[in-house]
Symmetry: C2
Subunit: 244 residues, 2 copies
């Protein structure tokens, strides 16, 4: 195995996943993963550019950053690439008016979006709001559209909270895809557009960047397909059994 | 197109789907589909053998039959092939102890089944009981098993209630399959074993039987793959757009 220096030669920017890499979310705001507060501080003091690249879609960026700052991280809202703002850009560009199947915590990100007479569905990690009634409403909206458009904020299978593994938005997206016989458009990792926007925001080329995450598909695979290097941490949802 | 007499030559038995063919379920027990009470009565007065072959997994057979009799149908519990009793046989044969992700209405079918220390999950049409909490519990049970076994009572995408289209068990099965990286074993239509047990119960060979249903995949496709003939009605979830 090549030495770290060799493997990371030419790296100018570091993209950090948040959940499972910096902290495990959960009751009371979650808990930091040992050493991560210090690691972020050292990275930001180095010559490297740092950006936080998350699929968090249950909380607004403001809420997420407030929570992380409270846990001791040096992080600001402008340093975070998250799927909800990326989705808002797409909605605006394409004149789409979404029915929102999202958690109340992220609804403020869509405050400027016209949601009247919906012509698409946006699904995010709705957590407890993934009730049968809410899923069925989104399903019915899609079935009534001539060309059903489903925009999914990520494809994650699950994430780790302090209380255990939790179903993520990808599972519920699959349910709607199957029921409607359609394929969702994914905003967030592992979508190449999402990684590219993060790279652009930090002014770094793909070959100069390394992605650090706990998800072998969303983080590692997605970044590598964009020409980036990637490292999988052994925290968060990492499992020695399947590497994911 | 061949005449009806020719297409149905040699038919000795008729398998009838229930939801969307006999009645549309919904508030207050649902409503019969015009002409179906009389059609069942005529079939049963004929020389044909009749069996009801349903993927209903939200209600016990007793409850379902009571409801249909109340609507005027000539039907008894012993004439119904349903997935919950079929699943119970499989559980017993293989020494499986299920965690049940099912509606309270069908729980009585599993009264004789050992559910302590579960080594598999059985998922049925849980309706409103498909809460995030219940889905997540089933997911966690599967993730803790070395060889996760998921038994699904059907693969239906949706069904029609009087209030509109409703997500069926297949959508939620897909969600768990995706989250756990596994494939469910399906009990119910379109599983060949399920159709074969219905044929056996009525003492008719596949080539002597016709299945009548509203689902192009579960009813028509499944029956045809078993060597039966099949007819799709234009009631229930049938849609001229997609035939399903």
């Amino acid at each position: 195995m090549a030495a770290w220096g060799e493997r990371l030669a030419g790296v100018r920017g570091v993209l950090l996943d948040i959940s499972g890499v910096l902290y495990d979310s959960g009751e009371g705001g979650g808990v930091p993963i040992a050493g991560s507060v210090e690691a972020v501080a050292r990275l930001k003091q180095s010559r490297l550019k740092v950006r936080f690249c998350t699929n968090e879609s249950q909380k607004s960026r403001g809420h997420l950053v407030g929570l992380l700052r409270h846990l001791g991280y040096d992080i600001s809202e402008g340093e975070v690439t998250a799927p909800a703002p990326a989705a808002c850009l797409i909605l605006r560009e394409r004149g789409l008016r979404p029915h929102l199947l999202v958690h109340d915590g992220v609804r403020s990100e869509f405050a400027q979006v016209d949601t009247s007479n919906p012509n698409c569905v946006v699904i995010a990690d709705a957590g407890e709001d993934f009730s049968y009634q809410n899923m069925n409403k989104a399903f019915q909206v899609l079935m009534e559209l001539e060309n059903p458009v489903l925009i999914s904020l990520g494809r994650g299978r699950y994430y780790k909270e302090t209380s255990g593994l939790m179903l993520d938005v990808g599972a519920y997206t699959k349910a709607l895809e199957y029921a409607c016989g359609i394929e969702a458009e994914v905003v967030g990792k592992p979508s190449p557009e999402f990684f590219k926007s993060a790279l652009q925001q930090m002014g770094v080329e793909a070959h100069q960047a390394v992605m650090i995450g706990d998800d072998i598909v969303g983080d590692v695979g997605g970044a590598q397909r964009c020409g980036m290097r990637a490292l999988q941490v052994r925290t968060g949802k990492f499992s020695p059994k399947c590497g994911a």
